[in-house]
């Protein structure tokens, strides 16, 4: 029994924990890390240079300069049918097909296409790696069950690639290098057991290895044509002639040596452009484009369980400098509808100097989304009786801020301070930031409901202060003599007064310098 438990405990943390609960006096045990069985799915895109620059089935070639001559790197199917072959000079290709579209290779676009593809692949796995030009490696051992087995997962990925217009060669193997080589060879190989690796790799030609030409040529000169031949060579001699790196690669491919890979991480900031073929000034259309961008922002955030608090729209014009529109939310948000709602409010007032040629959406810093529990239906009068859509205070505040401006929407709180003009301040409306009111004023003191931003000097007639008539003092004085420790010290006598119109005023008289009367508030 004890032996069986001991055996079980070394398998995983969970069983070990339960064991510790069973036996409080368990001896400390040495845990060996469980051996992770990995399965690598390699996607090799042989035509990436052609496909990255966009879809299209017309005759076109991608050329690359080699020794001063532009040579064809890749030709589309239509161009190939006209007899254009990779390796031809661009001039020869044009002679064969004068209508041919010749494009220089753009590695930036290729990289972007790979990144785009990687972010799409992230839905299948948490580990996507770049491995050389046009090669993506995806670790799938952990995803098999979720995606209904190897075959189904493979089909899903293959279908997705085809839909995005990529011609891919796929291979599955327990080591990343073996998967890469098999994919380069163009075989639709699927090897699950490391024991079967050697047999599958044996027949692969040296061209699949992506080794330097010098090495391949010298190996071919020795009569070595495939990996099986390489493996048959004496190890020390092979390492001496071609460098230890090649031997390590072979060992890694066969699973004799570990081959750790670092996964690619998508950028944590969203940025997307929408380019238009011609200038647009139709605002409805521009809004629809913005909505499209917001939808892709939502997808981006959804896969990462993130939200953003601010986004920036940039509308590019042909001649004028770009127009920017920044939107902010009180909380990290990802829902398209919320953003679109705010956008519409702001877009109404946005003036575009000229038609727009391209729109860019940039997300701010991403934050983890904090889920908020919604109100139940029976809670709240508004929800039960309301006819229209009801939104929370945060949403209302966001909408108001979007239209009226940031500093025009605020809450208030009191401050423990005797000087009346300092006894309060505005405060943020954001939930979580609203501080509880700290100070309470003594109930005996009379304070007006309306406060003037600055005390107003009152004219005086025969010793009586005037405000639409002679003032009559009702109550007072309340002496406030405080703040001598800073610049704004006051020494005032406050009175409650009433004028002939029935207005109740809060007036004061300075005690020190001049005895003039000031109006400071209304009792409302």
């Amino acid at each position: 029994m004890a032996a069986a438990r001991h055996h079980r405990s070394s398998r995983g943390l969970l069983s070990q924990r339960s064991l510790a609960l069973d036996e409080p006096a368990a001896r400390p045990q040495i845990l060996t890390a469980p051996v992770l069985k990995r399965l690598w799915f390699c996607i090799y895109l042989p035509n990436l240079a052609l496909e990255a620059s966009g879809p299209g089935d017309e005759a076109r070639v991608v050329v690359e300069e080699q020794h001063g001559i532009h040579r064809v790197l890749l030709a589309s199917a239509k161009a190939e049918s006209a007899g254009i072959m990779p390796g031809q000079s661009a001039n020869a290709a044009l002679a064969l097909l004068p209508m041919l579209r010749v494009e220089p290779r753009n590695e930036v676009v290729e990289q972007q296409a790979l990144e785009h593809l990687s972010s799409w692949l992230e839905q299948f796995t948490s580990l996507v790696c770049f491995a050389g030009s046009g090669v993506l490696l995806v670790e799938i051992a952990g995803s098999l069950r979720l995606y209904g087995g190897l075959l189904s997962l493979r089909q899903q990925i293959a279908a997705g690639l085809e839909q995005q217009g990529f011609n891919a060669s796929l291979a599955i193997a327990p080591t990343p290098l073996a998967a890469t080589w098999l994919a380069r060879s163009g075989r639709r190989a699927c090897i699950r057991e490391p024991a079967n690796l050697a047999a599958a790799l044996r027949t692969l030609s040296l061209a699949c290895l992506d080794w330097p030409n010098v090495v391949c040529e010298s190996l071919t000169g020795m009569g070595v044509r495939n990996i099986g031949d390489c493996l048959r060579l004496p190890r020390d001699g092979f390492a001496r002639r071609f460098g230890p790196q090649r031997l390590i690669e072979l060992d890694r491919a066969l699973g004799r040596l570990p081959d750790p890979r670092t996964g690619w991480r998508a950028p944590e900031r969203f940025c997307a452009d929408y380019e238009m073929t011609e200038e647009q000034s139709d605002r409805e259309l521009l809004l629809a484009i913005c909505r499209e961008l917001l939808l892709s922002l939502e997808r981006f955030l959804l896969t990462r369980q993130l939200g953003v608090q601010s986004i920036l729209f940039t509308f590019f014009h042909l001649r004028n400098s770009a127009t920017q529109l920044r939107l902010g939310c009180a909380n990290a948000e990802r829902l398209t509808d919320r953003w679109f709602d705010l956008l519409r409010i702001r877009f109404e007032k946005l003036t575009l100097p000229e038609p727009v040629i391209s729109v860019r959406l940039r997300g701010g810093h991403t934050q983890a989304l904090r889920a908020e529990s919604g109100r139940l239906r029976f809670q709240g009068k508004a929800l039960v009786q309301g006819h229209g859509p009801c939104f929370s205070m945060t949403q209302l505040a966001e909408r108001l801020v979007a239209r009226v401006g940031d500093h025009s929407v605020a809450g208030v709180t009191t401050v423990a301070e005797h000087r009346p003009q300092l006894a309060w301040r505005s405060q943020d409306l954001l939930p979580g930031k609203t501080a509880k009111t700290l100070s309470t004023i003594k109930s005996g003191l009379r304070r007006p409901l309306w406060m003037l931003p600055e005390p107003a000097l009152l004219p005086v007639d025969a010793g009586y202060p005037l405000h639409q008539g002679r003032l009559k003092i009702l109550e007072g004085p309340e002496r406030l003599e405080t703040g001598w420790w800073d610049e704004d010290g006051i020494a005032r006598d406050y009175y409650t007064a009433v004028n002939p119109c029935g207005m109740r005023l809060w007036v004061f008289r300075n005690r020190n310098r001049n005895a003039s009367w000031y109006l400071h508030g209304f009792f409302g």
Partner: protein
């Protein structure tokens, strides 16, 4: 005689006969805190889910004091309201700064205060409409420069939609203008207390009373 009363009943059953009292909502009003006023208001208090207009010449004659007990009740945190959480009180374009210490003395929950300072009249009306229809604000106070018939009607509809209480402060000159508000009150301060005239009250009758504010 008997036959007469039955024919009267018959006549009253006719759907084409309109009777003013049928307009009275079954809902009770929000107690204003001033008994004399409550007695004159249908439902025994401020009409909720609608627009109230207060016509006042000068600020400071008690126009806020009139509302304070009701607003304190709306923003209270002790669960005495029907809202799941205490309702917000929005102040749209107030003429001066509402002074928090005084509001606190009146029992207003300061953490439920929202002050909006729009730049112009159209923004003011938009903000008020948003606040009224949001379903979050229990009361929305606004000080419009002009409030035409159409804008008033929009605010009234927004208040109905969001179950909110809109209170518009307007000059007495607006008395002659038609209004969609459910309740119109004019305040006149004098030496002997404030004279409060109910100009229009949906389901009630015009009246003049003196309230000690």
């Amino acid at each position: 005689m008997r036959r007469d009363s039955s024919s009267l009943d018959k006549l009253l059953e006719n759907p084409r006969v309109w009777r003013g009292h049928s307009q009275v909502h079954a809902t009770t009003g929000l107690a204003s805190g001033y008994e004399a006023l409550d007695r004159h208001l249908p439902g025994g208090g401020w009409p909720q889910c609608s627009l109230t207009e207060i016509l006042v010449e000068h600020y400071g004659v008690g126009e806020l004091r009139l509302l304070m007990p009701a607003l304190a009740q709306l923003s209270a945190e002790d669960g005495s309201t029907d809202y799941a959480e205490p309702g917000w009180i929005a102040w749209v374009a107030p003429p001066f700064q509402p002074y928090p210490p005084a509001l606190q003395q009146w029992g207003i929950n300061l953490s439920r205060m929202l002050i909006v300072r729009p730049k112009d009249d159209s923004e003011m009306l938009w903000s008020a409409e948003q606040a009224l229809s949001s379903g979050t604000c229990a009361a929305v106070l606004l000080w419009p420069d002009v409030l035409d018939d159409q804008a008033g009607r929009r605010l009234q509809l927004a208040a109905e939609k969001g179950n909110s209480w809109g209170i518009a402060f307007r000059p007495p000159a607006a008395r002659a203008e038609p209004s969609a508000a459910a309740l119109r009150i004019e305040l006149q301060a004098g030496g002997e207390g404030t004279r409060l005239s109910i100009l229009k009250s949906r389901g009630g009758r015009p009246a003049v009373l003196h309230v000690l504010l």
